[in-house]
């Protein structure tokens, strides 16, 4: 089939109008020819014979009359073994394959290696009935079992005619032949393509999330848990530790695959991942974190239109690994930059603006994206999941702005970073009382927690929350009335809440032990602390309260810094118990 061609008519920054000489479709990819360079662009609006395209590159020097060729497909990613340990840009160009210090316009590099051999083991056999997403074979990608699947674009049922024998193959070699119901044979390789804006639906069922996604961060796992296949977001003004928190999650989360989309953020932060992850040990496998990580870097100075593509590229790669039955954790920093990219384009299209000049359908776009996360039952009954946490950078730190509001409707967990907590160095600066996890109310999770964590887990968590609420109220009253004008009990209530804050909520992301707390340990500590807060204390006057609790907090804090159940750990626990013995009534 011949490609539709066209000619450039108008140019306003990266919005270009093309007069078309044939059929095109919405979101079709095209290339604009400018001297020796080819600029990639995407159709975003069509009126009569004029197609509006957004160019993924700088349009400097572009002239009307330039030739345009339409490719007949949407923006697609290449899927196959070799995606891990890669640094891609938003359009899935391999950044390490690019020449020169500067990014060259119109330079596109392949995501996968055509000539690399992979050791293939067949999983399907001749005569098997298969459909899109079913596993045909397995290759080792780093240490992970990378499943070779029936391409997602295959519709309906197929019969396996032939599967390659175990051996070394490249991604271009045929590893299976499948016959459709009309009797036509199709060759399958280890590589396939998929349009990024379309969700991969090669699964049987998508239940509500029900198992905990351990992140090792107490204020998340204990207080506001995110579930496998769940969604959450982290809004916070600059300087409150969004990025440090995301990096901590990436390092410690109990996931098979980590995909990080640096969307319109600082280049040096991406460099930090590039330079640290290859050396950081994955605590559960002993391998390096890099082996299970893919980075999509579309930093703030890279072309704006590709910023939007970057989050979709990341999501599609995540869905691809989910189809292999893996637990994928997707992090995007920050979705606000993506929304701003939408705004810039909507503005150039002269669409009627919504609030703060964002496009009217912002909310729908964000919901649609978050909806792609989730846990799924694959056709073979196995589960796979994409858990998604995005950061939001609210303008002026105001959580009432459109991106935060829209995301709040879509995400099930809300992790509010607070400037006050950041200023007083209470990290992670998540304000527990402002934050929530809807999953705490899910009967599926209550059931799970009873079985896997603790009989009364959710009650305990809610009790801890109540203590924090009471502590906050008491603090306000003390501030108004003064230390000595309130009963001693007020001080005790306040300090019980401080105890929960210091020992459960606060965590040192830079300490080797404290950086990640396993669930079992979290359970032990929460029980312990709740036990303390239920006790009655005996104080003569308010001046005794704060020094006493500071000592107690210090002992518990040392526990947090010690290896679980080590001698030090027990020593500090004993110390804490002794301190408790001094003041607890009827202990």
């Amino acid at each position: 089939m011949d490609k539709t061609v066209g000619k450039v008519v108008s140019i306003v920054s990266n919005l270009v109008q093309v007069r078309i000489e044939g059929p095109v479709f919405q979101n079709e990819i095209c290339y604009i020819f400018l001297d020796e360079e080819k600029l990639m662009a995407e159709v975003i609006k069509i009126i009569g014979d004029i197609a509006y395209v957004q160019v993924f590159e700088n349009t400097r020097g572009l002239r009307p009359g330039s030739k345009v060729e339409f490719e007949g497909h949407m923006l697609e990613v290449e899927l196959g073994p070799g995606l891990l340990s890669k640094n891609f840009d938003g359009l899935q160009n391999d950044l390490d394959k690019m020449e020169g210090v500067f990014l060259k316009r119109g330079c596109y590099t392949p995501a996968l290696e055509d000539d690399k051999k992979w050791s293939f083991t067949p999983l399907a056999k001749t005569g098997d009935k298969v459909r899109a997403g079913d596993w045909l074979g397995n290759v080792k990608e780093n240490w992970l079992d990378h499943k070779i699947m029936v391409p997602f674009k295959f519709e309906g049922d197929y019969i396996v005619e032939k599967v390659a024998d175990a051996g070394e193959y490249t991604i271009l070699d045929t590893i299976a032949v499948l016959k459709d119901n009309k009797g036509n044979s199709h060759n399958v390789t280890m590589r396939q393509h998929w349009p990024v804006k379309v969700a991969i639906r090669a699964y049987k069922d998508k239940p509500r999330p029900f198992t905990l996604m351990e992140t090792g961060v107490r204020v998340i796992d204990t207080m506001n848990p995110i579930l496998e296949g769940g969604t959450g977001f982290i809004p916070g003004p600059f300087g409150t530790g969004k990025t440090v928190l995301q990096h901590a999650l990436a390092k410690n989360a109990n996931a098979d695959i980590i995909i990080m989309a640096a969307c319109g953020e600082r280049a040096n932060e991406v460099v930090e991942i590039f330079s640290e992850f290859p050396y950081l040990e994955d605590p559960r496998t002993g391998r390096t974190l890099y082996e299970r990580t893919t980075i999509i870097a579309n930093t703030s100075n890279m072309p704006v239109a590709a910023r939007e593509a970057s989050v979709y590229t990341a999501m599609t790669i995540a869905e691809y690994y989910r189809s292999m039955g893996m637990k994928v954790f997707l992090l995007a920093d920050s979705t606000s930059r993506w929304a701003q990219a939408l705004r810039e384009m909507s503005n150039r299209l002269e669409e009627l603006p919504g609030q703060d000049a964002f496009p009217m359908d912002l909310s729908a776009i964000i919901s649609g994206f978050y909806a792609r996360a989730g846990i799924v039952y694959l056709n073979n009954g196995m589960t796979g999941s994409v858990t998604f946490i995005g950061t939001v950078s609210p303008a002026g730190g105001n959580l009432k702005e459109p991106v935060t509001e829209s995301t709040k409707k879509a995400a099930r967990c809300f992790y509010a970073l607070s400037q006050n907590r950041a200023d007083s160095k209470r990290y992670p600066a998540i304000d527990t009382l402002e934050s929530y996890s809807k999953y705490l109310e899910y009967p599926e999770f209550v059931e799970f927690s009873k079985e896997k964590i603790d009989d009364n887990w959710v009650e305990l968590v809610n009790e801890a929350r109540d203590i924090l609420v009471r502590g906050k109220e008491t603090q306000e009253q003390i501030n108004i009335l003064g230390d000595d004008s309130v009963p001693v009990d007020y001080h005790i209530t306040l300090w019980k809440s401080e105890l929960v804050d210091f020992i459960i909520l606060q965590q040192d992301a830079f300490d080797k032990v404290d950086a990640a707390t396993p669930m079992d340990r979290q359970r032990y500590m929460l029980r312990k602390i709740i036990g303390v807060t239920r006790a009655e204390f005996n104080f003569e006057n308010f001046e005794e309260v704060s020094p006493y609790f500071k000592r107690l907090i210090n002992a518990f804090k040392q526990m947090n810094y010690s290896v679980y159940n080590s001698e030090d750990y027990k020593k500090y626990e004993k110390e804490a118990d002794e301190i408790l013995g001094e003041r607890v009534v009827n202990a």
């Binding site: 002239r63 950044l95 704006v304 930059r337």
Partner: protein, 439 residues
């Protein structure tokens, strides 16, 4: 100019900042001359071209002569740039000759992130509010947030003079003529003029011209950092005036404004500039120190807000009324890259001393609140208040000029003067090594 260059003489539309005319074969972003005034193509709509006229459209007739130059704005780069002053177009304003060199388009492509190196070299300035609490690192981008009445240009100039760098590039936007002359004399008197290249748009020049200044300065910076492997420090003042010029242009192009009447692309526009800060593996680097003036200390305004999300921290200037000096506010200032150098490239006690000082300073501010609300002060409250005053005077004030070790020693002296060891609460082994026994 080529002899075949077509001259257009029929302008169809004139606004305060733009002219439109029918023309063909014109490229986007290309430069043109309208009656000798420089203009740039900002929109091509079929055969109608819209030009942004940098110096304004006053007096432009509908039959003005327009020629297109077939290129985007460029700068000729070579070592001849050193010691010279240029306007926003890269033309000399110091009476010297034109610069010869390789002609490069300004606003060039971004560095491939995988070709960057993680910044790790400390830039010492002698100002303790910076070196001790918010240490600068080469390849960093950081602005001063300051109210217009604060001496931000003086502080920045001081930082530039003390910093150990190979090259300084000044990008002045909307500088008053007085400030321009201040910088000029300062650099001349310091005898370092040949290390410095300046691009200056004064308030006497049209505001839209400013839009070229950062790109001019950074194109020169990339020449020295990439071609010459030099450590380059770029000073941009004042980025708020740059952003104001962006809003003027977007307004005249009928774009829908977003927050605080700024264009919706403000974040990307600023990021394109600040992200030019880079550490190259070859040793060359570009460090950007900018100024963002605030109105009434409001950092939620779109300009400082977007800047904060882009830059690696901010340095907050504030007048400390108690000592009557301008200080670098330890609470609101932040250098995101300091972790890469403190305690590693500086003395081991640096991180702990820094944190202890700030914690005690914060206790002082609580004590002050108590005092103001009429509550009684404890002995500790009174001691932290005295400490805070000394700390402010001897370390935070911007007129301090010390080596980092001296700053640390000063802090230890203050600790011993007002507190006992448990109150300072620093790791025992460091305490044992550095605690000053006064008497």
């Amino acid at each position: 100019m080529s002899a075949f260059q077509k001259v257009y003489t029929k302008i169809s539309q004139v606004t305060k900042a733009t002219c439109s005319l029918k023309a063909t074969g014109v490229g986007f972003d290309e430069l043109a001359l309208i009656q000798g005034r420089l203009a740039q193509v900002v929109k091509i709509w079929g055969d109608e071209i819209t030009l942004q006229v940098f110096s304004g459209t006053e007096g432009i007739p509908t039959n003005a002569e327009v020629v297109f130059l077939g290129k985007a704005p460029t700068l000729k780069v070579s070592d001849e740039l050193c010691g010279r002053f240029f306007n926003a177009f890269g033309q000399p304003i110091d009476g010297g000759p034109e610069v010869d060199g390789e002609e490069r388009e300004i606003g060039g492509p971004s560095v491939n992130p995988v070709q960057r190196k993680q910044p790790s070299e400390l830039i010492a300035t002698g100002i303790a509010g910076i070196d001790l609490n918010n240490t600068l690192v080469s390849g960093q981008k950081i602005p001063f947030f300051a109210d217009p009445d604060q001496p931000y240009n003086q502080v920045m100039a001081n930082v530039a003079l003390k910093a150990q760098t190979d090259r300084i590039i000044l990008g002045g936007m909307g500088l008053t003529n007085d400030d321009y002359l201040y910088f000029k004399h300062l650099f001349e008197n310091a005898g370092i003029l040949d290390h410095i290249v300046s691009f200056v748009n004064t308030t006497e020049a049209p505001p839209v011209e400013r839009l070229l200044v950062p790109d001019m300065a950074l194109t020169a910076a990339e020449y020295f950092a990439v071609d010459k492997n030099e450590k380059v420090l770029v000073l941009l003042t004042d980025m708020t005036l740059y952003a104001d010029a962006l809003s003027i242009v977007s307004n005249r192009m009928d774009q829908i404004p977003s927050k605080d009447s700024m264009p919706g692309s403000l974040y990307s526009d600023l990021a394109k500039i600040y992200e030019k800060a880079v550490q190259f593996p070859s040793g060359g680097s570009i460090t950007i120190i900018a100024v963002t003036t605030l109105s009434g200390g409001d950092i939620t305004h779109a300009i400082p807000d977007n800047t904060g999300y882009i830059t690696e921290g901010q340095l907050f200037l504030r007048k400390d009324t108690e000592i009557g000096k301008v200080i670098v506010d330890p609470f609101r200032s932040l250098s995101r890259l300091k972790q890469l150098v403190i305690g590693k490239k500086t003395r081991e006690d640096h991180p702990q001393v820094m944190n202890a000082c700030i914690r005690l300073y914060s206790d002082a501010s609580n004590a002050r609140t108590k005092l103001e609300n009429g509550f009684d002060l404890t002995d500790y409250d009174r001691r932290v208040l005295s400490f805070a005053k000394d700390y402010s005077n001897e370390l935070l004030a911007i007129d301090v000029d010390l080596k980092i070790e001296q700053m640390l020693d000063t802090a230890w002296t203050l600790f011993a003067k007002y507190f006992d060891k448990t109150e300072v609460a620093i790791k025992q082994e460091i305490m044992d090594k550095y605690w000053k026994n006064n008497d």
